[in-house]
Each structure stands twice: as structure tokens, then as C-alpha cells.
């Protein structure tokens, strides 16, 4: 028989072959449902990311200009300068705008704006000031300019000014460089950064990775039978039971995503809470209805609420370093076993509690948006949860990455 003829005849015999197939519709049906959930989850994630982007954009557009202080500075300077000129021409009944104490106003000013105001004052003739309503003076006085200090000596002013000052009125004190401590501006810049940083609530969008599978997709954990019998069996309410048969369990790197809101408590202390979602996948042998299935996949979905306290010990306009402690309560909202063409679900009772301590660093590349990185150690308490990397290795190194938005 010629080769091609042999091929052709074999093809003819095999091409039309039909054979009753084993019933795998149940597995297909469950697979379709899983894929449907994935699609929904993906759409939800995209929507959440889009919402976060819109939120960030809105914050940038509507809150951005306030942060540098330049826009509001002239009005504040006006309030400050006005009473200095006033004693000559303005009687007591002149209404002074309701202004904050001078120290607070100065603190809010950019340095060059105050310097400009101070040297401009002697140049304004008293007669001209007297001829005009007091409230208009500030508008002409205060443009914050970059090259202020060299135009006029300021040393002549302090001698005359105190004599004209009404006593007991703090707003009429003439500000001079000598009134300020030598390191006033250094401390003030640091303080402003601090207030800007800690007196603002924040939203964080985060994702976590643990070191569990840092050098590959899987981590081989020996001696898994102990954890299996302790953790898996105690929660086995159905026919599924993790066992250590021929293979040791394997644990994929857990993934966590979440959103947190932080509120300042003091200048340096803040508290944060939010919602986290964690996804854990393990692979181990199981007994299902007394039949051994090797390499079954176990998927755990946790939703948790963290509560964290952070102490910010370095705060500059762009950089922050802090230490934090946190506790988290997590509920396993779904547990699923996938083995062969079967999928089985189990309910999980109780909560998974964990404690975390670590340090973090954040970088604000624009006033209202930054990134942060929090390496930490997390300890998962024994709360009779299903077998996972958390029950197998309760102490884990955790790396959290995310975006922060000031609101």
C-alpha cells in the first residue's frame, strides 16, 4: 500500500467518527458561571479604577490652586498692613475686617510676599494714605514680587512705629525681621508642610503582595499535613477534606486590593480604615466523598476591614515617612474547590484576625496625589480558617503599594 493511499484511507475512516462523549456539561456549566463572574469582577474593577481616576482629576482641578498659598496671600497681607497705616487717619470706628491673629496669617504667607509688604510700606506717603479710604490701601500695596528686599533700607521704620501703635492691639504691630526667631522661616516651612500633610484626609487605593511566592509562582511547603488536619479539617462541614497524600500543598501568592480613608488625629498621628479584598489560591490533595483527588485547587475570597494608626515622623511637601500599626478583621465570603471537572463550594464560619506593623514611605508628586510603599510584617491569628498560606505561615512579610489622594 502506497503511503499517501494509506494516509487517505485512514483519514476517511477517522474523519467521520463520532463517539458518545462523557458528560462534562456540569463542568462546562460551572466554568461558564465562573467566567461570567470574572467578567463582572473585571468590569467592576475597571469602573472602580475609572472612578478613582475621575476623583483624582476632580481633586486636581478643583483643589489644586489653594495649596501654594499665592492666590490668597494679597488679601491676608492687606489685613496685616492696614492697621499700621491707620493711626494717622483712621479713627477707632473704622471697621477692620474680621481677621485671624497675625501669627496665623504670617504663617500662611509665602516668605517673599511678606518681605515685599514690609519694604513697600515706607514708600507710601502718609498724606496719600490719609486721603483715601483705608480699605483700598492693601490692594495697591501687596503684589508678591520676587525682587523685593534691596530697594529700601528697613532699619528706619522700627524706631517710629512703636510710638504710633495703640497699645493692646496686636494687629497694629509693625512686623520686622527682628521680631522673628532666626530659624522662623525654616521651622515655618516645615510646619506648613506638616499641616498640609496631616490636616488633610486621604483616600488610598492599594494592592498587596506577600513574600510567599516571591521567587516564583509557587512555594513548596513541607509538613503540610499538620496544618491540614488542624485548620482544614476543623472547618470541614461538607464531604471535602484536605489531606496530605502524595503531594505537599502549594500556595500561590495572595493578592489584596483595597480602598482606605485616612483622617488626621494630630499633626503627626492619623487613623485609617477602609475595605480590602484578598484572593488566596492553594493546591493540595483532597478527599471528596472518600475519593482522593490530587492537586485540587482551593480558592478563598476574603473581604476585610482594617483599622490603622500611623505616626508621621518625616513630613516634607513631597516626602513622608511613617510607622504604622493595624488590625484587620476579614470574612471569607467564598470558598471554592476545583478538581477535575468538579467545582464545590463551602461556607466558612468566623473571622480571620490579623495584626500588622511596619513603616511606610510616601511621595507626593503633585499636591493632591502621591504614591506610597508600605513594607510590613503581618501576623494572622489562628481563627480556625480553611487551609491557606495564612494558616500555614502565620507571620508574613507584606508589601503594600498604592496611590493616595488628598481630599
Amino acid at each position: 500500500m502506497v503511503r499517501d493511499d494509506f494516509d487517505q484511507r485512514l483519514r476517511d475512516r477517522l474523519e467521520g467518527v463520532t463517539e458518545p462523549a462523557p458528560d462534562v456539561w456540569e463542568g462546562i456549566s460551572q466554568g461558564l458561571a465562573r467566567r461570567r463572574r470574572k467578567v463582572v469582577f473585571r468590569r467592576f474593577t475597571v469602573a472602580a479604577a475609572a472612578a478613582a481616576a475621575v476623583l483624582a482629576l476632580a481633586l486636581l482641578v478643583f483643589r489644586g490652586p489653594r495649596d501654594d498659598g499665592q492666590v490668597e496671600a494679597p488679601v491676608q497681607i492687606a489685613g496685616t498692613i492696614e492697621p499700621v497705616e491707620a493711626p494717622v487717619v483712621a479713627p477707632a470706628e473704622v471697621s477692620v475686617p474680621d481677621i485671624a491673629p497675625i501669627e496665623e496669617q504670617i504663617a500662611a504667607l509665602p516668605r517673599q510676599a511678606v518681605a515685599a509688604a514690609r519694604v513697600t510700606k515706607p514708600a507710601a506717603p502718609k498724606a496719600a494714605v490719609a486721603a483715601e479710604p483705608v480699605v483700598e490701601t492693601p490692594v495697591t500695596v501687596v503684589p508678591p514680587v520676587e525682587e523685593p528686599a534691596v530697594q529700601e533700607p528697613v532699619t528706619q521704620e522700627p524706631a517710629a512705629a512703636p510710638a504710633e501703635e495703640p497699645k493692646g492691639d496686636e494687629t497694629k504691630h509693625l512686623l520686622t525681621e527682628e521680631d522673628l526667631p532666626a530659624d522662623y522661616w525654616t521651622r515655618e516651612e516645615s510646619s506648613r508642610a506638616s499641616r498640609s500633610r496631616t490636616h488633610t484626609s486621604q483616600i488610598s487605593i492599594l494592592s498587596n503582595l506577600t513574600t510567599v511566592a516571591s521567587d516564583g509562582d509557587l512555594l513548596y511547603i513541607p509538613n503540610a499535613s499538620h496544618a491540614s488536619s488542624q485548620n482544614g479539617k476543623s472547618q470541614a462541614v461538607s464531604d471535602i477534606e484536605p489531606i496530605s497524600a502524595t503531594n505537599a500543598p502549594k500556595f500561590y501568592s495572595p493578592l489584596t486590593f483595597g480602598v482606605q480613608v485616612a483622617f488626621p488625629l494630630t499633626d503627626r498621628l492619623s487613623i485609617a480604615t477602609g475595605v480590602n479584598y484578598s484572593y488566596l489560591v492553594s493546591q493540595f490533595d483532597i478527599l471528596y466523598k472518600k475519593v482522593l483527588y490530587e492537586g485540587a485547587y482551593n480558592q478563598l475570597h476574603y473581604v476585610g476591614v482594617p483599622l490603622a494608626l500611623s505616626w508621621h515622623f518625616v513630613q516634607t511637601p513631597h516626602l513622608g515617612v511613617y510607622a504604622s500599626v493595624a488590625g484587620t478583621a476579614e470574612k471569607c465570603v467564598a470558598q471554592r474547590y476545583v478538581f477535575g471537572s468538579n467545582v464545590a463550594s463551602e461556607k466558612v464560619k468566623g473571622l480571620q484576625w490579623s495584626a500588622k506593623a511596619g513603616v511606610g514611605i510616601e511621595y507626593w508628586f503633585i499636591p493632591h496625589m502621591g504614591v506610597y510603599f508600605d513594607p510590613s510584617l503581618v501576623y494572622f491569628f489562628d481563627n480556625q480558617q480553611p487551609l491557606s498560606i495564612r494558616t500555614q505561615q502565620p507571620l508574613q512579610a507584606n508589601f503594600e503599594l498604592g496611590f493616595r489622594f488628598r481630599i
Binding site: 483519514r11 477517522l14 463517539e19 458518545p20 462523557p22 462534562v24 461558564l32
Partner: protein
């Protein structure tokens, strides 16, 4: 409710495109017995069941991309062939095909009338029983009509290796068919 057989292929495809579970079930009922032997040819009966399930999931996932060009059955068959090859790659079977050098060349040719005495299912089982590498080359070259260059690219082997493995697959099949034929007599 209409009988499954009364739905046209176009109606089923449309239903599946829209995620209609009934349409998906009917499509499965109609084609499972056709696609299962394809999987058996590539993988043997043991693994064919898993790939049958995975293949149908892919079909339902990708059915929106079927443009109606060519036969739908042919389009589906390609998906199951790809799923089978993926499975072979995943289980690393194709890399372990060096042992085919140990397969002896069968002597002689198959006499006329011998093949006709063997049932299609028996031939299917003989193909399924070939070593994975030989089986893959045989299926891709003889059944799917790929050239040796294409088979080599698909399986990650050289063109020459494809030729050599096909030759051994033919020899082995002829040998087994003869044995089966003589066993029946």
C-alpha cells in the same frame, strides 16, 4: 419547547453569542460526540474528557469571533485541536518524544483489505495509543493537512524530525493494524 434538532446551526450560534445557556447546552449536545474523538486522537481517552470540557468553554468564549466563513464544525475542530496541543504542551509530553527513536521501523506494507476489516473505533484507539509525539505529528499531518514545516513550527521540532516521526507513526500503525487483523482471524 422546540426539539433540539429543530434549531438551525445559525440559531444556536446566535444564542451562544448572547450567552443563552439553553443554546449552549444544545450546541454541546450536538457536537460533543463529534469533538470527543478529535480529543481522543490527540490525547487518548484519559485526558480527552478534560480537554473536551476546556474546548467547549473556549468555543463559548470565542463564538462571537466566528464570521460564518467556512464550516462551523471545522472552526470548532480547530479549537479542540489547539486545546489538545495546549494540553500536550502543558503536560510537557511533547518534549519527551525522544524515546520515539526507540520505536522500530515496521517492515513491509499493509495488504489491501486489511484496513477495511478494522472498525473506525479500533483505528481511533490505535492512533490514541501511539506515543504522544508520533500521535501529534500523525494527526497534524494526516488528519489536519499541515505541512511538515507547519507541524515542526506547531510542535517546536525540526521539519526533518516531523518527517521522521510521521514515518515511524505510519510504521507503528501498520504493525498494530496487522496484529489486530491477524488476531481477529
Amino acid at each position: 419547547m422546540r426539539e433540539t434538532s429543530t434549531y438551525t446551526e445559525a440559531e444556536l450560534i446566535s444564542g451562544c453569542t448572547h450567552g443563552d445557556r439553553n443554546a449552549q447546552r444544545m450546541l454541546y449536545d450536538r457536537y460533543a460526540s463529534v469533538m470527543y474523538p478529535v480529543c481522543v486522537r490527540y490525547l487518548g481517552r484519559e485526558d480527552a474528557k478534560d480537554v473536551l470540557q476546556e474546548g467547549f468553554l473556549t468555543v463559548f468564549d470565542k463564538i462571537g469571533t466566528y464570521k460564518g466563513e467556512g464550516s462551523f464544525e471545522g472552526w470548532m475542530r480547530k479549537i479542540f485541536v489547539n486545546a489538545s496541543l495546549m494540553h500536550l504542551r502543558k503536560t510537557d509530553v511533547l518534549r519527551r518524544t525522544e524515546d520515539i527513536d526507540e520505536v522500530p521501523e515496521a517492515g513491509g506494507v499493509l495488504e489491501h483489505g486489511v484496513l477495511e476489516q478494522i472498525s473506525s473505533r479500533e483505528i481511533l484507539d490505535l492512533v490514541a495509543a501511539l506515543p504522544a509525539g508520533l500521535r501529534s505529528v500523525f494527526n497534524l499531518f494526516v488528519m489536519e493537512g499541515y505541512s511538515h514545516a507547519e507541524v515542526g513550527a506547531l510542535l517546536g521540532i525540526t521539519e526533518q524530525s516531523s518527517r521522521s516521526q510521521l514515518s515511524r507513526a505510519r510504521s507503528l500503525l501498520q504493525e498494530k493494524i496487522k496484529e489486530l487483523y491477524h488476531g481477529k482471524r
